[in-house]
Symmetry: C2
Subunit: 347 residues, 2 copies
């Protein structure tokens, strides 16, 4: 296993992220401004972190724009201009936020990024509708370029269907008594990897890249996405609250069937049996029980497995880049840095 400490030192915010924010940011604003309904524009702007619930601008708002960064780099990776990745980047950021807005309703989450979630601020109905408006706007953006739309629109919509499928599986797994690790991983692929895979290839699709190159970039994004999710699951068990902004062992408290927790339960170890007993009446209630469950997960090797798997996926992502013939040194370096940044454990 890679030394976590040494990697942590290398993971500063990659320069490519600031660069694409400057490039894609204005196009994203333009796309949101083009939503015809004023109320929908307000909810979308709030969700994107640009303003408060009254519409007053927020200083330094906005997300990290990971997906737009990947979209732009994917265009450059096949020798296309950065501009070819902009519509796809805008669309992916909109789709990502549409899904956050809707997921918060379904999961009953009341806070995101230290603010009330969209449905809390604007009501459930308006939040559902604004999500729909953002999804629609996303397709409108990629649909506008007549030359690339016949390729990019289906590429985007296929990923949206996978995303929907992942969230649907997530809701279904919550009600299921016995959950298998494969089902959890498939759900996480849909919820996270599908969209990152699309982001990491849509710029290349727009630039007219070969199926071979698109597949390599999609695999890069897919691997990074699943690795990210596994690390996220690890943080849900042992994350530092001062870094994650969530309570310690948040997934343990919520009784979530994350890959880490299910891997531990299905490990066939004595600790797995302990875990089964501890969780048979639902999530732990006292702080003592939370500590017992957390240590059983660690003893069963759930965290170790997930971190090793994340490392393997990160290697695989970097390996996929080697299949690209036209990629220049700088773009390759950017994609490697962005992958490391996404999968970093100190967030």
């Amino acid at each position: 296993m890679t030394d976590t400490t040494s990697r942590r030192d290398t993971v500063r915010t990659p320069e490519a992220i600031a660069r694409t924010r400057d490039l894609v940011g204005p196009a994203l604003r333009y796309a949101v401004d083009a939503i015809p309904d004023e109320r929908m524009r307000l909810v979308a702007s709030y969700q994107l972190g640009w303003c408060d619930a009254n519409g007053s601008a927020v200083e330094g708002g906005g997300g990290k724009m990971i997906r737009p960064t990947l979209a732009v780099l994917s265009a450059e990776a096949v020798g296309g201009g950065a501009a070819a990745g902009v519509p796809g980047g805008v669309a992916l950021e909109l789709v990502h936020n549409f899904s956050l807005l809707h997921d918060d309703i379904m999961d009953g989450d009341t806070e995101r990024r230290h603010r009330p979630t969209g449905w809390v601020a604007f009501g459930e109905g308006q939040a559902i509708l604004a999500g729909n408006a953002m999804l629609t706007a996303a397709v409108q953006v990629v649909g506008q370029d007549a030359a690339s739309a016949p390729r990019t629109v289906p590429h985007l919509l296929g990923a949206v269907q996978e995303l929907i499928s992942g969230q649907s599986a997530d809701l279904a797994l919550e009600r299921q008594e016995h959950v298998e690790l494969d089902d959890v991983l498939q759900m996480e692929v849909g919820k996270t990897a599908a969209l990152l895979s699309c982001a990491a290839s849509i710029g290349a699709v727009a630039a007219g890249a070969s199926t071979h190159d698109v597949a390599a970039l999609a695999e890069y994004g897919h691997s990074v996405g699943l690795a990210f999710q596994l690390v996220d699951d690890v943080l849900g068990v042992i994350g530092d609250p001062s870094v994650t902004g969530k309570s310690a062992s948040s997934d343990v408290r919520a009784g979530k069937s994350s890959a880490v927790i299910i891997a531990a339960m299905r490990s066939g170890t004595p600790a797995a049996q302990r875990l089964e007993v501890l969780l048979q009446d639902g999530p732990p209630k006292s702080e003592e029980e939370v500590a017992q469950v957390t240590s059983a997960i660690l003893d069963a090797g759930g965290v170790e497995w997930a971190l090793a798997e994340a490392d393997r996926l990160l290697d695989r992502a970097v390996g996929a880049l080697d299949r690209l013939k036209q990629i220049d040194r700088r773009t390759r370096e950017d994609l490697v840095n962005v992958a490391r940044y996404i999968v970093a454990r100190d967030r």
Copy 2:
């Protein structure tokens, strides 16, 4: 005002509707089958009336397919083949049902077509997701034809944004103390006319019709849509429960700000003042109060105004067809019959 009785005799189900059901039905099934997630296919099939909540096929299920009929006729109206209207027809039926599925959640409606609504049958989260999957599938269908997609995709998505805006305005008006008739009409245009306008023109757009012809067909659909909504509002005040399947005066009981009710309240008549007083503490509670409110709406001329307006819009719809140079006699007759059928008062 046209004689309602004599018109009622002429309104049988137009032959064009059965014809397009045979044509578009299989393509609609194909599109739903292409949704990758099994659970999402089930919810979509249930929403479309094809199966019960366990997935068992329902005999004679499925809606009237008004929107697909318009899509196919719009292709024929510009001299295109009926087939050019099929993808648009499929998409419009999916979008229509996506919006019903989501609206039932927001409005808290528990029954539709004598069955539990989708969110009641499958849970709110799965219903939100299945709506998203249907919207996505709709765009996928029109996006598949590379030749027409650069025109049809934006045409469809523009209407979807209007639809979203209409539903958002509907939710907002419910919380508003003082509502103006113009606001209600604008909301109803978004909720009903936008999609019918798109349906009545998307086949022509796919067939490569001129802007002039597309605009004429869009105006036809817009007028039919608003006329339909106004008649629906009339039925919400004086409809026969044995025909409408709703309780008598359902909009009155629900305290809805329909165009008919707001037109009555803003009529400046003595009955309008009576109405204002009757409704100042919310919707009527007793049967006696329901009867008083209903008769005040009638006395204030709300119903008369809406029926006259619906007639004017129906004439305008038929008039728009006269602007089409290439339309053949049969297609014109079909479009006139379908318009009369949609706006019929005996439903």
